[in-house]
Amino acid sequence: MTQPSGSKINDDLLRPLFHTSWRFFLLVAVFGGIVALGLSTWMWQARNGYGITGIKWPVYWGFYITSFVFWIGISHAGTLISAILRLVNAGWRRPVTRCAEAITGFALMIGATFPIIHLGRPWLAFWLAPYPSDRLIWPNFRSPLVWDFFAINTYLTGSLLFLFLPIIPDFAVVRDKSTGLRRKIYGALAMGWRGTPKQWHRLETAMQIMAVAIIPVAVSVHTIVSFDFSMAPVPTWNTTIFGPYFVAGAIFSGIAGLLIAMALLRKFLRLEEYLLPLHFDNLGKLLLVMALLWGYFVFNERLVTYYGNEPAHMAVFWRTQSGTFAPLYWTMVTCNFVLPLILLGIRRFRTITGCVIASIGIVIGMWLERFLIIVPALGHKYLPYSFGIYRPTPPEIIIASATFGAMCLLYVLFAKTVPIISMWELKAADHLPAKHPHSTAKEQRLGDSHA
């Protein structure tokens, strides 16, 4: 397959921006309705108090914190993957990066709302911010929750800028192709972009610096999220493996989320010429590696707990292996390890459909993983007085489910207002230097032809 020409790239990728079908309104109505339901349920919770949820002593973290960790994990799809591929100058990254970076921005925004949803008095969330208040209490910088505040906000700021900067040249294209109010809006967003060599060099240097900075930040974010657990004296939580285990899990679920989004975009925006089976195959292989890594971490964590044989730890261990939570645990193992190994490990099954089925399984499995880390341990701490059960109530289920609607709504609106594939990066594939210092001949070929 040959590289589409510049004008074809413009036509294909600007089509969703200039032509609106009934499907767009239907999607916005459906997802908007789900979000509205979630928001109204949250308001109802704020009005009536936490008593309407299943969160009570001793299980204070339930669906909300599970969803918080899950969405922060999903956010690792984009910026981290995109930054790594950008730094190694992988030619096949071009059609993928923006889809991925958008996931990061939206997943982080959604994830960051959960600690606020989780508050009994959400209107006091600003107490987390370090400011010289008259109450003479500053945030405790030794608390992992304050580390979360700094890490998530740094990652969110960096990710949104990492997403926005390479869109600027594409905003200029939309500006040139528009008239009236749309032209004014996109003109403002293009920030005077013309496309001089100086602008291209500055943009590419900025993207390189951002990529270098954002990779350690991404790793730190999920490590710090893991510290919310591993710094606490709760059975099976206080372990050194949680940092890398959480980071690997985050990348794992993030790639799965990215594959699902890419398949939907390919189908609904008719991007078959841009999001090729090659991209699904490459990401599918990466997903397979992450499945193996996830299995390795789970094996480590379980075996060390088993050999440690601490009574409190073993009680939680058996609750998940063969007790109340066993059905969820083995569903998780099937979704996160068995299914990907079959669908992604056997070449014949590593098709677009196979990748999407494996990814859906992984998203479910990774949500269960977070739930199984949090709830069984909190419900069975060291002494019998602190034993308890957790049953989610409808408000929790509605709010947690509504965030999936919010993700879809944000993504649909984004795809409607911004070219979902970086047009200038696709066009730039035709103008790589003859001997590019950072890419092999094969990578250049992939970049040029996408195949």
Binding site: G6, F141, T154, G195, Q199, R202, E204, A428, P433, H436
Partner: protein, 167 residues
Amino acid sequence: MRAVYGLYPNGDSAQQAVNRLRAAGLADREITVISAQPMEDCEFGEMDKASWMWWIACAGGLTGMSIAFGLSWVTAHSWPMNVGGLPTFAWWPNLIVIFELTMLGSILATVGTLIVSALLPRKGQTLYDPEVTDGQILVGVEDPAEGSIPGLQATLGAPPGARVKTI
């Protein structure tokens, strides 16, 4: 603003135009080149490559680090709390906040440098043609000297496929 420019269908003819302008005595800073994508396979794509952006990003990182250190140190010492004899200012936990603000500082400095050095329009640098979006490469001279326009038109019109415009 007055300007003379040519639109070229490919990098080779645009390169010829740039070379001819240089041969006519124009410096690189007087030549405007605009394209819809980075032209890494052309010599003119290397113009204006030097940048202080990496150093400014480092300075931004150092600023962020200093702010984070000051914030956590001042906070700890303004309201010291004795918790089991632990140090008032603890390095290990504060390193996390210091790291995050270091990275944030470098990211914000990078974006600020990009905006100031490349995006804010400068006087005499507003030449543009929307045909660039369709793949044409613009090579031109902004605010040319009186009497030089006919010569520039001839120079810019010489490469194959050139379409010269004067505004």
